[in-house]
C-alpha cells in the first residue's frame, strides 16, 4: 500500500484472452465490444444511421450521446457509457406526457375536474401507452433496435424472453431522455407527439392492439 | 458488490420554498357563568375574535362552551398541543396570547449555548493540525 511518490511509467505486456470467458483473465476488447450481429462498438455511420434518421435535424443529438443511447448495461459489463440514466429521464417524461394526453381529451363525464376526465387513469390503455411492451414493439417495427449494444443470456428464445423487448424499450426511453437533455422538455414533448404518436403504426395503435389481445386471453 | 443505498427521509426546511403555518387549529373554551371568562366573552361578543379568525385564515378556530376557567388550546403540526390558561385576563391580553402562540412551531422552548444551529456544514471548515504548513506546525 505505501509507496514513494515517484511517477512510474509502466509498459506491460498483458495477455488478452480470446474465446469463451475464463474467470480472472482480461478479454480481448476486439472480441468483446461486438454485438451478436457483428456490429463493432464505434461511432460509425452504420451504427448510428437508424437513430439519426429517426431523429431528424430538429431533434438531433451528438454522436457520442447517440452511441450511449444504443448501449445497454449488459454490454461489456458496463465499462462503456450506457443508457440507464437517459432511460430514467425518458420513462418519466413519457409517463407524464401520456397521462396528460389521455386526461386532456374532450369528455362528457360529469365527474371531470375542470374539463379533465381523470377516470381514464389506471385503465390498461393509459398504463400501457408508455409501457415496455408497446415501446419494444415500436422499436422493432421502426427498425430502431437493429444495432443495439447489449448481451443476452440466450439470443434464440424469442423477442420477449431473450430480453430484447426490455432492452429495446430501454433504448426508446433513452432516446426520449437524450432529446430531453439536449433540447429541453417542450421540444421533447413535441418529439413524442410528432415521432411516436405521429408515426404509422403509432404507439397508440400498437398499445390498443396489445391491450385488445390481452383482453381476449 | 457495488455501492448500496441507505434509506433516509429528506429534512423539511419550512420557509425555504414555501412557508406552512405550523399552528393549524385553536380551540377557544369559554364559560357563560364564571367571571374569569369575562375578557374572553367580551372578545367573542364584540366581534374581535371574528376579525382575528378571518385574519389568520389558515387556522381553524373551534369555539366551545364549557364550565370552568377559560383556556386556549393550540394544535401544531408536530402533533403537539399547548394549553394556555386565560382566566381573569383582559381582552387585549388574550389577543396578545393568541398572537404569541399561533406563531410558534409547537416545539418546546430551549436555550442554545453555542453560536450556530444549522443542518449544513460549516462554510469555512474546521481547522486540522495535520494540514498546517510545515513552518506553522506545532513543535513539541
Amino acid at each position: 500500500m505505501l509507496s514513494s511518490s515517484v511517477c512510474k511509467l509502466s509498459v506491460r505486456n498483458i495477455y488478452l484472452h480470446k474465446g469463451p470467458r475464463v474467470a480472472g483473465l482480461k478479454r480481448d476488447p476486439q472480441e468483446v465490444f461486438v454485438t451478436q450481429g457483428g456490429a463493432k462498438y464505434e461511432q460509425s455511420e452504420t451504427n448510428l444511421k437508424h437513430i439519426k434518421d429517426f431523429l431528424t435535424e430538429k431533434y438531433s443529438i451528438d454522436d457520442d450521446l447517440a452511441l450511449q443511447v444504443l448501449t445497454h448495461k449488459s454490454f461489456g459489463n458496463g465499462i462503456k457509457p450506457y443508457n440507464e440514466k437517459l432511460s430514467a429521464m425518458g420513462s418519466k417524461i413519457l409517463n407524464l406526457y401520456f397521462a396528460k394526453f389521455v386526461v386532456e381529451k374532450p369528455s362528457q363525464n360529469e365527474l371531470a375536474i375542470n374539463g379533465k376526465n381523470l377516470d381514464v387513469l389506471g385503465t390498461p390503455i393509459a398504463k400501457e401507452l408508455a409501457g415496455r411492451l408497446s415501446l419494444g414493439i415500436f422499436a422493432r417495427t421502426n427498425n430502431l433496435n437493429s444495432t443495439m449494444f447489449w448481451k443476452s443470456y440466450n439470443y434464440g428464445v424469442g423477442f420477449e424472453t431473450s430480453g430484447e423487448m426490455k432492452v429495446s424499450a430501454q433504448m426508446m426511453y433513452a432516446l426520449v431522455g437524450a432529446v430531453t437533455f439536449v433540447h429541453g422538455k417542450k421540444v421533447a414533448e413535441q418529439f413524442i407527439s410528432e415521432k411516436l404518436l405521429g408515426a404509422s403504426p403509432s404507439i397508440e395503435d400498437i398499445t390498443s392492439s396489445v391491450v385488445e389481445k390481452a383482453q381476449q386471453n | 458488490m457495488p455501492v448500496k443505498a441507505i434509506a433516509k427521509t429528506s429534512i423539511a426546511r419550512n420557509g425555504i420554498g414555501a412557508f406552512v403555518l405550523p399552528c393549524h387549529k385553536i380551540s377557544v373554551q369559554y364559560c357563560n357563568w364564571g367571571g374569569s371568562s369575562s375578557g374572553l366573552r367580551q372578545l367573542l361578543k364584540s366581534g374581535k375574535m371574528d376579525s382575528i379568525a378571518s385574519q389568520k385564515s389558515g387556522v381553524v378556530f373551534d369555539v366551545v362552551k364549557r364550565v370552568g376557567h377559560p383556556k386556549l388550546i393550540f394544535h401544531y403540526n408536530n402533533s403537539q398541543k399547548q394549553e394556555v390558561d386565560i382566566a381573569n385576563l383582559e381582552a387585549s391580553q388574550i389577543v396578545e396570547k393568541l398572537n404569541e402562540y399561533s406563531q410558534r412551531s409547537g416545539a418546546p422552548l430551549f436555550k442554545f449555548n453555542h453560536k450556530v444551529l444549522s443542518n449544513n456544514d460549516s462554510v469555512r471548515g474546521i481547522w486540522s493540525p495535520m494540514h498546517a504548513p510545515k513552518s506553522h506546525r506545532h513543535k513539541i
Binding site: 505505501l2 458496463g78 363525464n109 375542470n114 428464445v157 | 457495488p2 441507505i6 381553524v60 403540526n77
Partner: protein
C-alpha cells in the same frame, strides 16, 4: 413460468431458467368502468362514482378552507377538488375518490423529482438515485409532508359525531380512509389491529406501511394532481419545487460501500485513466503516539482523488478511497458563469451539465 433453454451446451441442456412473461395491465372490475372504444379516452367512466362534492357544501367546512389558505392555493383551485383529494374511500355513497388525482400527482412528482436529481447529481449511482427519489417523494416522506400541512384523519364514527353534535361538514376537510366498521371498533390503548389489506401487504412486501401513512401520501399526491387540473403545469412545478425540492437531501449519509478500493480502481478503468491508483500516507502523528492520527490520500499518478483521516492505517486508507468515490458521485455541475444549471422544464433551457455514463460493476 419456467422455460427450457434449447441452445446451451450439452451439460446445461436440462437446466430450467425461471422467466416471467410481461403482464399487460388489467382493469379494476370493482370500479365498473365502461367506455365506447379503447382509444376514446374521453368516454371512460367509473360507474361506482355518481357525484362530486358541490362547491357550496365544501365552503362550509372550516378545516378545508383553512387547509386551502395554509397552502396558499390559488382561488381557481376549487374546494370541492381539495375535498376530493382527501377522500380515499371507494364505496362512500358514490362520492368520487382521489385515485385519478393521485395517479396524476404521482406522475408529475416523479418527473420533476427525477429531472432535479438527474441534472443536479448526474453521476449518482442508480441505487442511490432511487433512494434519493424515495427520500424526496417516497411514502414516508409524503406522510411527513401531509402531517406538516395539518391534515387530520377523520376517526370518529357516525354515532360519535351525532352524540357530540359535530357539524356534518367537518368531515369533508379531513382525511377519509377508515371504514365505518373500523371506526366503531373499540380501540385499546397501545394496540393497533391490522386490517385484512394490511395483513395481505405484510405478507407480500418485506416492510410494513401503515394504512394511515399510505393515506397521507395519497392525499399529498392528489393535492398536487388537483393543482395541475385547475391551474396547469407551471404552477404545479412551482408547488413541487417549493414543498418537495426545497427539502434537504442527506446524500453523503446514504452511501454504503462494501469494497471501495475495488470500486475506485474499476471506476478509474472506466474513465480510462492511464496511471494506476495508489494510496499514500500524507501525514501521521507517529506510530507510537497516544491515539495516533494518519492522513492517507488516494492518488492517480500525481493527482490526489481523495483524502481520509483515521486512527489506524487501514481506516485512513478506506476513508480516503470512500472520499474519492464520493467526490466523483456527488459532483454537481454549474453553468459557465457560475450560476445554477437549468432544468429541461425551464423556459430558456440550455444543456450545460453532463449525462451520467453509468455505475461500475465490481
Amino acid at each position: 413460468m419456467l422455460r427450457r433453454i434449447v441452445r446451451l451446451p450439452r451439460p446445461m441442456l436440462r437446466t430450467l431458467v425461471p422467466t416471467r412473461n410481461y403482464q399487460v395491465a388489467r382493469l379494476d372490475t370493482s370500479l365498473k368502468t365502461n367506455y365506447d372504444s379503447l382509444t376514446d379516452y374521453g368516454s371512460y367512466k367509473n360507474n361506482i362514482f355518481t357525484h362530486r362534492l358541490p362547491e357550496s357544501t365544501a365552503q362550509q367546512s372550516p378545516p378545508l378552507v383553512a387547509l386551502h389558505s395554509r397552502l396558499n392555493l390559488p382561488t381557481s383551485y376549487s374546494l370541492s377538488t381539495l375535498s376530493q383529494a382527501l377522500n380515499l374511500n371507494k364505496f362512500d355513497d358514490g362520492l368520487a375518490n382521489n385515485f385519478g388525482l393521485n395517479t396524476l400527482g404521482k406522475n408529475l412528482m416523479s418527473y420533476y423529482v427525477a429531472e432535479y436529481l438527474l441534472i443536479k447529481y448526474p453521476r449518482l449511482p442508480m441505487p442511490i438515485h432511487n433512494a434519493a427519489v424515495d427520500s424526496l417523494m417516497g411514502v414516508e416522506t409524503l406522510h411527513e409532508i401531509g402531517k406538516s400541512w395539518g391534515i387530520e384523519v377523520d376517526q370518529s364514527s357516525k354515532l360519535e359525531k351525532y352524540l357530540s353534535q359535530e357539524s356534518e361538514f367537518l368531515k369533508y376537510g379531513k382525511l377519509r380512509f377508515v371504514s365505518e366498521q373500523r371506526k366503531s371498533q373499540v380501540k385499546e390503548d397501545g394496540v393497533y389491529e391490522l386490517s385484512q389489506e394490511e395483513i395481505a401487504s405484510l405478507h407480500r412486501n418485506k416492510s410494513f406501511v401503515a394504512k394511515e401513512t399510505e393515506a397521507y401520501a395519497s392525499a399529498v399526491r392528489s393535492i398536487v394532481g388537483g393543482l395541475y387540473t385547475h391551474v396547469g403545469e407551471d404552477a404545479t412545478k412551482a408547488f413541487i419545487s417549493d414543498h418537495i425540492l426545497s427539502r434537504k437531501l442527506p446524500l453523503e449519509q446514504m452511501f454504503q460501500f462494501s469494497q471501495p478500493t475495488r470500486e475506485l480502481i474499476r471506476l478509474c478503468d472506466k474513465l480510462s485513466f492511464t496511471e494506476p491508483v495508489e494510496i499514500r500516507l500524507i501525514a501521521e502523528t507517529g506510530r507510537l503516539s497516544a491515539h495516533p492520527i494518519y492522513v492517507a490520500g488516494a492518488f492517480c499518478g500525481v493527482e490526489k482523488l481523495g483524502e481520509g483521516i483515521g486512527s489506524s492505517l487501514a481506516e485512513a486508507k478506506t476513508r480516503s478511497v470512500v472520499n474519492a468515490l464520493l467526490s466523483y458521485y456527488l459532483y454537481s455541475p454549474i453553468s459557465a458563469d457560475g450560476a445554477d444549471v437549468k432544468f429541461p422544464s425551464d423556459i430558456d433551457y440550455k444543456f450545460e451539465g453532463i449525462v451520467g455514463t453509468g455505475d461500475v460493476a465490481i
